[in-house]
């Protein structure tokens, strides 16, 4: 059974993920702010899908919440994906192109 205690444990574990080494360094403030800002950004972005349909927005909102918990701390993953390694950028470049073409042709 899920109790408040276990939820607290989960939250504590989530927050502990940020703290590697000295948890009060200058850069940690940036990471924690970035994490929180990004969570809010993607929740707002997910809700924007209501312009297509409300049920779709609700599904994407739930999926976004689940993904945010699964990938926590998200900012670390974003930093990793943000690598300027050529192959990684090319990979994302092609993914974007494929999605844009698929959405526009399918939607239009």
């Amino acid at each position: 059974m899920t109790s408040i205690a276990t939820m607290y444990d989960k939250l504590k574990k989530y927050l502990d993920n940020f703290i590697i080494g000295r948890g009060y360094t200058n850069i940690m403030t940036g990471y924690i702010t970035g994490e929180l800002q990004f969570l809010i950004f993607i929740i707002i972005l997910a809700s924007l899908f209501r312009i297509f349909s409300f049920p779709l927005a609700i599904i994407i909102l739930v999926l976004t919440g689940a993904a945010a918990i699964y990938f926590a701390p998200t900012i670390i993953n974003i930093e990793k994906e943000n690598s300027n390694e050529l192959n990684r950028v090319l990979y994302w470049f092609l993914i974007y192109f494929a999605i844009i073409i698929a959405i526009t042709i399918w939607g239009g």
């Binding site: 850069i27 990471y31 800002q37 943000n82 300027n84 950028v89 959405i103």
Partner: protein, 496 residues
Amino acid sequence: MMELVSNLWSIPLIVIIPLITAVIVNAIYDKEVIKYISIASALITLGISIISPYGYHWFTGHPAFDPNTFTFTFDPGIPAFRLSLEFVYGPIQQIMIVISSLILVFCVILATVGLTKRQGPYMATIFLLFASAAIIIMVNDLYHLWIAVEIGSLIVVGVVVASGTSISHKAALKYAFFSAISGAGLAVALALLLGITGFANVSDIIRIMNTVGISGMEKILYISFGFFILAWMYAGGLAPIHPLKSEVYGASYPHATAVLQAQSKLMLVAIGIIMLRIFGTLPFIKEVMIFLSVITMILGVVLALIQIDFRWIIAYLIISHSGLVTLGIALGTKDGIIGGVFQAVNDIIYMSVLLFCCEALYYFGGATSTKNSFGIARKSPWLCAAVLLGAFAAAGMPPFNGFQSEIILIQASLNSGLPEIAVIILMVSITTLIALLRAIYRIFLKPPEVEVLEAKIPKAINFGIWLFIILTIIIGVYPDIALRFIIPAVEGGFLP
């Protein structure tokens, strides 16, 4: 008012003067006279862009074809097929080129102050960069657009390489690699549009699409749009190209980054407006452009929060604010486009303030890292005041210029029924301030952990910083100074 001439004298000069200057200073290579030639050339270009009337330039003197009377005409006021390679100098072009020229003047001055060797080739790349940006914002045909984007991309590589560090060489190589993809993409987009309509002139393409129709050709148009988007992403550093573009910004000299970011904004505005004009009536086009803009805004500003160098924080903020520019254009409404173009103008100005402040930090031994605190405010309180004012302008606080354009963008989003976008714009503004203040506190305000050199900042840098701060305040208090160029152009249609 648009003066209806098809051979406006100023258009070739705005392009040719920087080109000739580039050839001359490169040939001279390393002499004192480069300084005077470069500054004089930049000032002349600025002067021409200010005094020039509005009009067109049809290359090769080719007349337009009037299908109603089956005659040729040199009068741009007559709705006819332009056929020729066409440049336009209107109010939007004027304000963007004037601001870019002003930045060029200061970039050239700062380069002559900061660089002691091999000034010629470096100055040449800066002038070529300006020329490519000027072409892109004035062009009304896809051939010139493609060529200018290609040249502009390669010149960016040249400017970055000229910074001379191993990081800049790597950044330049990666950026050059992608120029092949986006340039080829733009060529494919051009070929598809040429195949459908038979014209390369943007106005002619639109006229054909409106009169003959595009029934059955939608899929080809969507693929063409997809390739256009690739070029747009690449030129402006939108996601997912932002890691490479931010590296380009961060690895260059700050004064060069000021010109680079101005060129990017001009490209984003020019390509964005062309995309909107050609594809804007198709379903899902604006939505794709909006999502791309929002993702860029979010990623740019979040990544700025976790950077540990002032240069890289500014680099990511430039990326994020590029998303603000494209967002306005992507909304596709009059308010949105006015806000987008106005944001581009303002963004170029306040980012230049921050970049010039960053250049000033080089004189304190390159104290741009946020890992240590340097207490620069004690050594240079005026520089600290300037960087704080620049940060406030970037964060969209009144009475600075950023506030005026962001409020237009927020209103445009609300009027388009997208309050979520308005919230994201507000959050980007706040996060911009957080990212900048983190760095400013560490570098300027916190008591020093590391002693930095005693330095005297060159007068040219101080003059540039305060001139642009005054501009941010003047435009912030009297936005009509800029809006009187942008609003008539948007309301009266951008181009013929």
